[in-house]
């Protein structure tokens, strides 16, 4: 497992720059429930959480639901192999954003969301349909994986969102349910370190 502290630091620095820009001429606190406003498109960038060393894409809010598609890249120096990935993400935000007690910064906290990702990895080692030497059903698709995600986000003004997410790999979720003691004995944070990854990203609302 790799440390992503440096990555988070870089993303935070980029986000802080955006915070400074959006704080100028800040309007009064936006009332709760802004998330229930009409649909929005956005640009998204994310690092880690199995979607890539860097992944960029677009998404759309549907009130409390969001769907996004990201194109991710993992350099060989980082992942051991060079990979391109396409991820489809869904999120459900059950709570309205909460204005924080910091009016000058116009920051709202979305305290919890849950979601899932379907990830397609493009590489000659991976396949969706089995190559010809295999009997039918010998293996499932090796180029597809999924994750269960949960996270929180900070909304800066009306355009910027920073999110921090924990993504648990599908095979890890199954293994954890079947062997919780093993993971708790061998990994930190109730064993969740062994089946998942932190991710960080930013969204820029369009319109």
């Amino acid at each position: 497992m790799k440390s992503c502290i440096a990555t988070i630091t870089v993303m935070f620095m980029l986000t802080s720059t955006g915070v400074g820009a959006s704080s100028a001429g800040t309007s009064p606190q936006v009332a709760e429930g802004e998330r229930d406003a009409p649909h929005h498109n956005y640009i998204v960038a994310q690092s880690a959480g199995y979607v890539g060393f860097i992944a960029v894409g677009m998404g759309r809010d549907f009130q409390r639901h969001t769907i996004s598609a990201l194109l991710g890249y993992v350099p060989e120096e980082i992942g051991g192999v060079e990979l391109w990935q396409l991820s489809l993400k869904y999120e459900w935000h059950p709570f309205a954003a909460i204005p924080l007690d910091d009016p000058s910064n116009n920051i709202k906290l979305n305290p919890f969301y849950i979601g899932t990702s379907l990830i397609y990895g493009r590489h000659t080692n991976l396949f969706v349909n089995e190559p010809g030497q295999y009997p039918d059903g010998y293996y499932g698709p090796t180029a597809l994986r999924s994750t269960l995600n949960m996270g929180l986000s900070l909304l800066y003004g009306k355009k910027y969102t920073l999110f921090i997410e924990y993504a648990a790999l599908d095979t890890g979720v199954v293994a954890y349910v079947r062997h919780p003691e093993f993971f708790m004995d061998n990994y930190d944070f109730l064993g969740l370190e062994g089946i998942g990854s932190l991710a960080v990203g930013i969204k820029l609302k369009l319109e």
């Binding site: 915070v19 199995y50 051991g80």
Partner: protein, 270 residues
């Protein structure tokens, strides 16, 4: 401190691991055969006599609780010189799976030697296995018994097994004392990934090269039979349920096998 900085710091502290892809190849656990060979040499020189036991684990398939269970059973014994892991430690050849099983077996206090299984060979499993566990074909001797660990995953490695390697490893050198020659692979020499003709040719070859016994996994059940050339073949059942096998080589070099599922009983040849 602003709330955003606080939350980021908190998350950095709470979860300091990142995975950029499910198909990364780095794992945080290594069980290299070179380190295990060095350990085996120490055991060989300290072990009195020529009798020894070998634990056989097969088809872990990320059954981590069962793997830990078997590890604890093996640690209770005093007759295990080393462990052979007979392939398919993963389901999908993913780095995370290799790491979990490596950690599950890491508390064993005897060396471990792995053969690659077909499931270990998909995705980037070949690279991960080779970098962290063992080559695909290698051999070593212990108490004048030669163990030849070879790759026969023909769907994932076209052209295997490497007959030249097998012949070279099986050959007895001029200055060598050899009591037994054992061949070890994930898939037995039967019609499976090989055609019936290919499997028969392999069985003939193993006999011609003087192989006394072969050890395998893959079939998920304990099986023990002798082929048309009189070469015995043993399959260790899947580790699920806490199963493993024991190979014993006695002072005279005679081999015997036990299948263990709670209790250990002599393997009966079909």
């Amino acid at each position: 401190m602003n709330i955003d900085k606080f939350i980021l710091l908190l998350m950095c502290v709470l979860l300091n691991s990142c995975q950029y892809s499910a198909w990364e190849t780095d794992i945080d656990c290594q069980d290299s055969y070179t380190a295990n060979l060095a350990e085996l040499a120490k055991i060989e020189s300290s072990l009195a006599g020529d009798a020894f036991g070998v634990a056989l684990l097969a088809d872990i398939h990320v059954d981590l609780t069962d793997a830990v269970n078997v590890v604890e059973q093996i640690k209770q014994r005093d007759d295990v010189a080393f462990v052979l892991v007979l392939g398919d430690i993963t389901d999908f050849g993913l780095a995370a799976e290799f790491e979990w099983v490596c950690k599950a077996l890491s508390s064993l206090d005897v060396p471990r030697f792995y053969v690659i299984g077909n499931h270990d060979s998909i995705s980037f499993g070949k690279e991960i296995f080779y970098e962290n566990f063992a080559p695909f074909d290698y051999a070593f001797s212990f108490k004048d018994v030669k163990f030849i660990l070879y790759n026969d995953n023909a769907f994932e490695f076209p052209g295997v097994p490497d007959y030249a390697f097998l012949a070279d490893a099986a050959a007895i050198q001029a200055d060598e004392t050899r009591r037994r020659t054992l061949a070890v692979s994930h898939i037995p020499p039967v019609k499976d990934v090989h055609t019936e003709e290919e499997a028969a040719n392999l069985r003939q070859f193993l006999f011609d090269e003087g192989i006394d016994l072969t050890l395998h996994g893959h079939l998920h059940e304990f099986v023990y039979w002798s082929d048309e050339f009189g070469v015995p073949h043993h399959i260790t059942g899947r580790v699920k349920g806490g199963r493993y096998s024991m190979l014993f080589i006695d002072e005279l070099g005679e081999a015997s096998l036990q299948n263990c599922a709670g209790t250990c009983t002599a393997a009966v040849m079909k």
